[in-house]
């Protein structure tokens, strides 16, 4: 057993931390949070130059052939520095899906552009029911004259406002089971009939409503097999859940560090507040939550990376980390007192993201149901 990172992963981690600290100060984070685009094209280009977008893509498609675990190391740092922008959507939701399910032509067309930062992708899965099950996919795609015509509404779609392509999950057939008859389409976001509306969210992440109104998509743009898309969606969701955990672990780590250093500094009653046992216990709870989250997240990530079945591990990681991040940021706020309740402070940036991260790709209740199922209950 080896619970440590490799030397290369350590290097990736340190260089990512340094880069983000320098290139993405909190001032920029706040500015991007309040903007409609939610990302900085300049920073995006620099990240591409560092090879981040291509980190997990094979060399033949312009990547550097890293593992999913490498990506998780990078995502933890992005969460630590709360980097805004469509990296997660483009690489985790888009790039990895095309790599897993795309045909050779699609891979050749899309992946090099992902790797060099030329295109932004996202997954358009959830609908007004806001659930992650197959039965909730009501958007329809009908074959007509050698094309597909898509109609329906997608909701809570990350970064669709800046995406070039949407991986749209649609129903192509009413099967016996809801899982049958689902197909994934690569839809040009500029296609006539695609209407995207930006929603205003707690975490200021750029979630959108997308209405597909008779949108024509060429047959060649089917990703994977017609009617058999659901297993692909499930595997995307699994990776996305672990990837989200990685971001949350990073965010929780940063929250812990901020709060502990404040507890050492802030003096009330002629002593640092960190000398009060109540505050010490909070800090102890926080570090336990952060470390626990990191362990279960990396175990799940390692299994996914190695191609070992990981349903249980992913559910454990997402259930635990979602709620742990919430607890850690709440305690962080408690330690900061009134100063943390100001817009100028950084604590709320993490607290907001903790809620968004918890909800996305299945919250604690959803994941505990998976755990119960895996237990054979």
């Amino acid at each position: 057993m080896d619970l440590g990172l490799s030397e290369e992963q350590e290097m990736l981690r340190t260089s990512a931390r340094d880069f983000l600290q320098k290139e993405c100060p909190k001032q920029l984070v706040k500015q991007l949070d309040e903007s409609d685009e939610g990302y900085s094209p300049e920073l995006w280009r620099k990240m591409a130059e560092l090879g981040w977008m291509g980190l997990v893509l094979p060399e033949e498609y312009g990547g550097s052939g890293g593992s999913f675990l490498d990506l998780v190391v990078l995502l933890e740092e992005m969460g630590y520095n709360i980097l805004p922008g469509p990296f997660f959507s483009t690489v985790v939701l888009g790039g990895l899906s095309i790599l897993a399910a795309g045909n050779e032509e699609q891979k050749k067309e899309f992946l090099p552009k992902v790797a060099n930062g030329e295109i932004i992708l996202t997954l358009a899965l959830t609908e007004p029911s806001a659930k992650y099950d197959a039965a909730s996919v009501k958007t329809k795609a009908v074959a007509r004259n050698g094309e597909y015509v898509i109609n329906g509404t997608k909701l809570f779609i990350l970064d669709a406002n800046v995406a070039d392509y949407l991986l749209c999950v649609a129903r192509t057939k009413e099967g016996v089971k809801p899982e049958d008859g689902i197909t994934i389409f690569l839809v040009d976001a500029k296609s006539p009939g695609v209407k995207c509306t930006l929603l205003k969210t707690l975490a200021r992440d750029k979630q959108c409503e997308i209405i597909f109104d008779n949108v024509n998509v060429p047959k060649d743009n089917v990703l994977g097999e017609v009617d058999r898309g659901w297993p692909v969606v499930e595997s995307i969701l699994q990776k996305a859940a672990v990837a989200k955990c990685a971001e949350m672990v990073g965010g929780a780590q940063a929250s812990l560090e901020m709060a502990v250093s404040y507890a050492k500094e802030r003096v009330q009653f002629n002593r640092p507040i960190g000398s009060f046992q109540a505050i010490q216990h909070y800090c102890a709870n926080m570090v336990t939550d952060v470390d626990g989250s990191r362990f279960v997240t990396y175990r799940a990530a390692w299994k996914v990376s190695e191609g070992i079945p990981a349903t249980m591990d992913v559910a454990v990681a997402k259930a635990w980390t979602s709620e742990a991040y919430g607890r850690v940021t709440l305690l962080g706020h408690q330690i900061f007192g009134a100063i943390g309740f100001t817009m100028d402070h950084d604590m709320h940036l993490y607290y907001r993201r903790a809620k968004a991260g918890e909800i996305m790709f299945g919250d604690g209740d959803f994941q505990r149901a998976v755990v119960a199922q895996e237990l054979g209950l």
């Binding site: 007192g337 309740f341 100028d344 809620k355």
Partner: protein, 398 residues
């Protein structure tokens, strides 16, 4: 023992209910996103529109801004239980029924002010003619308020104030600061503090806005540079301010929008009833039922602490530990309600006011943010627990 309202109390409750139905501007309750327990989402921070000003005037006419005060000072001469009934109903409709002057400053003056001071201030407060803000906290004096540094030095008939206050909620829209200052720098920290009323329009006061995380300008930093205040504005005796402050803080901790918890909870329950997933209402989901039931139970418990404090006041007792317990219980309730609300709404819980698809006008994400202030403002939860443990249970300090 009798857990029912008396006939008189019941009749008063109906009277209040009728008044609200008639006088509260239409749409006010639904439009106001104030989160119960929070100090950061009051829309009144920004505008008290003419409709609301009219509502407040009507309250003042009835003596309802100061229900439990004696009639001679403009009150309604009613019991504290009746006052609690009033606040419970008002907060249920998210109607602003009291403020710092009527609920904190006024009652403290009633207890400790000279006759002259009572005559000067109480009738004006009861009429709603003057508003106060709380000038307690300083950058280095939060929980440890006794370490405050803002100084007041006597010069003839006046005091000259220098220093800085922070977190002054509504300071920018109030008339007077209800303020603690250091009047004797040589005495022990608790023994050199005075409580004083300072006109916001005095020369030398600078108010700078602070934005809270809910996006409201609710609080402020306020600088005092040689501000002159008549000595007669000292409440009670000079250098006794700390003792008055302890009582004023208890009054503050009794200001709980109890009905607001019930109202917001009911709205979340309603949402769970009306929202269907694959044909089944969320309210049929056992996990959601369980969370809502737990919430209902906690609200019932909190209500008892709420009535208890009013009952004590009617018996001539000053709630002290009880005020801290009420504050602690209801602020935890504030946080729990936000947590249950977000769990019930899932993805929709992230949508803020003004967003397409937003449920309940975005009050749940606003509450997720504002409940942070509930756990901190008016003395943090840790400080309340310290009070309950040490002052209440006599646990040793060392």
């Amino acid at each position: 023992m009798d857990f029912r309202f008396s006939e008189q109390e019941e009749a008063f409750r109906r009277e209040v209910e009728d008044f609200i139905n008639e006088e509260l501007p239409a749409g006010w309750t639904e439009g106001n996103i104030h989160w119960p327990g929070g100090y950061g989402t009051l829309e009144e921070f920004e505008v008290i529109g003419p409709r609301m000003a009219q509502f407040r005037r009507r309250l003042a006419e009835k003596g309802w801004l100061t229900i439990s005060w004696p009639k001679e000072y403009g009150g309604a001469g009613r019991s504290n239980i009746e006052q609690a009934i009033f606040h419970e109903r008002m907060s249920y409709y998210r109607a602003p029924g009291g403020d710092v002057a009527t609920l904190i400053g006024g009652p403290t003056i009633l207890h400790f002010g000279s006759d002259e001071m009572k005559k000067e201030w109480l009738p004006r407060i009861a009429k709603g003619d003057v508003t106060f803000w709380l000038a307690y906290s300083e950058p280095n004096a939060g929980s440890d308020l006794a370490s405050l540094q803002t100084s007041a030095v006597e010069e003839g008939d006046e005091l000259v104030i220098n220093g800085q206050k922070i977190w002054g909620t509504v300071a920018h829209v109030s008339d007077y600061a209800w303020m603690v200052v250091r009047t004797d720098p040589t005495a022990a920290p608790h023994k050199g503090i005075s409580l004083i009323i300072v006109d916001n329009k005095s020369d030398g006061i600078t108010i700078r806005p602070l934005m809270n995380i809910c996006g409201f300008h609710s609080f402020n930093e306020v600088f005092f540079d040689n501000v002159r205040v008549p000595k007669k504005n000292i409440v009670g005796e000079k250098n006794q301010g700390w003792y008055y402050l302890m009582v004023a803080l208890d009054f503050e901790r009794l200001v709980i929008p109890m009905g607001g918890f019930r109202r917001t909870f009911e709205e979340i329950v309603q949402y769970a009833r009306e929202t269907k997933h694959n044909g089944q209402a969320l309210s049929r989901d056992p996990l959601i039922r369980n969370k809502l039931a737990e919430m209902a139970i906690e609200i019932e418990v909190a209500y008892m602490f709420f009535w208890q404090t009013a009952w004590m006041l009617d018996r001539g007792l000053m709630p002290n530990i009880e005020a801290s317990v009420l504050k602690l219980v209801t602020t935890e309730l504030s946080q729990k309600l936000a947590s249950v609300g977000t769990a019930v709404m899932g993805h929709y819980a992230q949508l803020e006011r003004g967003s397409k698809w937003v449920p309940l006008r975005g009050r749940v994400p606003a509450g997720y943010l504002d409940c942070i202030s509930a756990l901190v403002g008016a003395g943090t939860s840790e400080i309340q627990r310290n009070i309950i443990a040490m002052r209440g249970l006599g646990l040793p300090r060392k």
